[in-house]
């Protein structure tokens, strides 16, 4: 019998779950490609991806959502950390982060004028916002989880055709009290391992 004293892979480690990766990087051309090929090579599908600058000049944040086992996700995070231009990579389960996505819905103005139903139910119930009203179309904006924006989509559809729909990738911040600037400063001081993350 194999005695595994100190490390025990839990059964739950192999369960497929949603994980959010938050990756801080140098702002370097080609890095997106470098990160995505790590997923590609392991046949891991990216469900959502968002890249943006951060509060620190020259530092970008990638937020990547995958469905994976903990084991595979951990291995991918280690490979991402290994990239020279990656400052840090964090792996989160849903309860460890604040996260949002934004969705835009383009509807025909005619539907909107059918009554106050849309405004009452949709806007109030879902906390959505009317971004723009044009002669022939209107734009509704909602931020929330994918489930929430999808529900709104389904409801709106009942009133008529949705002309166009777009949803952003997830953005997320950790629930830990941490200041990225300080974190980067610590990285700048050390030649050794990326901090214990």
């Amino acid at each position: 019998m194999k005695k595994k004293g100190l490390y025990q892979l839990k059964k739950s480690d192999n369960k497929i779950k949603e994980y959010t990766l938050s990756v801080l990087t140098e702002d370097k051309a080609g890095l997106l490609n470098h990160i995505t090929i790590i997923f590609n090579r392991r046949k891991m599908n990216i469900n959502s991806l968002n890249v943006s600058t951060t509060e620190i000049t020259g530092v970008s944040r990638f937020t990547i959502v995958v469905h994976s086992s903990l084991e595979s996700a951990t291995k991918v995070v280690k490979q991402i950390r290994k990239l020279v231009d990656v400052l840090a990579a964090f792996l989160y389960e849903e309860h460890e982060i604040y996260y949002q996505e934004i969705a835009l819905y383009k509807l025909s103005t005619k539907i909107f004028l059918k009554g106050d139903l849309v405004e009452k139910i949709i806007i109030r119930k879902y906390g959505a916002k009317i971004l723009k009203i044009e002669k022939d179309h209107i734009i509704i904006q909602k931020t929330g989880t994918k489930v929430g924006t999808q529900k709104l989509y389904d409801e709106l559809k009942k009133f008529g055709e949705i002309l166009e729909f777009a949803r952003s990738g997830r953005v997320a911040l950790s629930k830990k009290k941490r200041k990225t600037v300080n974190f980067i400063k610590e990285l700048e001081k050390t030649k050794s391992n990326k901090l214990n993350i």
């Binding site: 194999k2 005695k3 595994k4 004293g5 100190l6 490390y7 892979l9 990087t25 140098e26 080609g30 490609n33 470098h34 090929i37 090579r41 951990t74 291995k75 280690k78 490979q79 950390r81 290994k82 020279v84 231009d85 990656v86 400052l87 980067i184 990285l187 700048e188 050390t190 030649k191 050794s192 391992n193 990326k194």
Partner: protein, 561 residues
Amino acid sequence: MNISGSEAVIKSLLKENVDTIFGYPGGAIMPIYDALYNYVNKINHILTRHEQGAIHAAQGYARVSGRTGVCFATSGPGATNLITGLNDALIDSTPVVCITGQVPSNLLGTDAFQESDVIGISMPVTKWNHQITNSSEIVEILSKAFYIAGSGRPGPVLIDITKDAQFSKTKFRYKKCEKIRSYHPYPVLKSEKINDAAKIINQAKKPLILVGQGVLLSKAENELIKFSEITGIPLASTLLGLSAVSCDHKNYVGYLGMHGNYGPNLKTNEADLIIAIGMRFDDRVTGDTTKYAVNAKIIHIEIDPSEIDKIIKTDVAINADAKEALIDLNKIVQKNSHEKWINEFRKCDKLEFDKIINKEINGSYDKLSMAEVIHKISEFTKGKSIIVTDVGQHQMVASRYYKFKEPNSNITSGGLGTMGFALPAAMGSKIGNPNRDVIAIIGDGGIQMTIQELATISQYNIKVKILILNNNFLGMVRQWQQLFFDNRYSFTEMKNPNFNKITDGYRIKNKKLEKREDLDKVIKEFIEYDGPYLLNVIVEKEENVFPMVPSGESVSNIRLE
């Protein structure tokens, strides 16, 4: 004073103490070659006959010397010809800096002549890459390139420089890179991990050390021997770890892996502790991972955190440089001996000798066997040569029968298994360490993949010895076809050219060896000759390499026949 970007490239290389460049010129790198022309007294350039030859030579140079190998290539096909070597260097952790020319920046993305997306193509096969489009970047990026290639777990770096950046002027103030905020190659050794490991080591009854290339890369050979001698723990080596421990050390129990020795493979599943040092549990070592080291706790000393728990789950993971970790372990591990356990390996050795080795080295085939030729060379050189092997049966036989005595003596394409590696890598090895004998051991298949490098060897009189073990077969594939594909020899037999006539054409001394009675005399002549020498040895056509762990099976299923 401002200088051209091209001159800045050459001056940067000089600042990094580069003494040799392996390369091949072409349109997009001509300004750099032009700048090089003024520095030929300070820096050696070897014109290979193919860019793949250049990068494998740079790899060989790096592996024997521990310094970063450098190669030049032009844009487009020049750069794409480097890809195999880059991948090889990445998977075998070899420090190489490749500089490629690129079309002028205003033509990027236009499908210009010899334009290729080299950054995109090389991304998965480099530790780092970068495109320079402005000469002002050259100095900083090159110093970063050398720092990244050579630090931590080494690897290949590619720097692509557009032609306009090579031409335009820049200031030259070189500052060696010592830190990159996003890159932290030196892990902090945690003393509690060392304590945890020592506890397990002190209690183990049947421990086994697996020696990987990390030991050589961190120059931890002496610390490793000390560790083994204090604790009495037997040492087994991976393919790339070979030569880190002298094969005649009393605790050395042999070579691991698919065609390794019987003892260390079989005993992996009896061991109660595996101490893996600077190795990555390659599938050629582990076989079926679910049936690997089934009774053992695992201590993994490894500099690259992504290798820890990647294949085999550890009980104690020591993310550290091998040498640092061993120095600290040596301070606290208890003196011990495991003679009974080591004797079990010796029993396996005896069985392996009786069933395989004896027959192989003592001329029981009609024709010469690969093993008897290697055995003879090993005896004649007293295990002190640098052996550069290609990929296939001859590689496994060389790894089994050459008895290495000195570190950094085994240069082979391990992870990627690149046929065509050995001939150019041997050139680089000889240049990287001119004081030692370098013997390239190559099959009749592999030699034909980079045979053009005989011209380089001839032009620069690189004193390498080239041994072709010629069975007119792609022997390893044939062996698998025989054992696992019902003897269906699908496209593995080769009607070869006359290698001696070819070598004559390159003006390199050569000989054909067929008869057993000539073996001693010819090997002596081959080794002692002062200059490049190719020896074409006709060996047994259908010799199989045993022992063998069949692909995907447990190491316990190692077959002696």
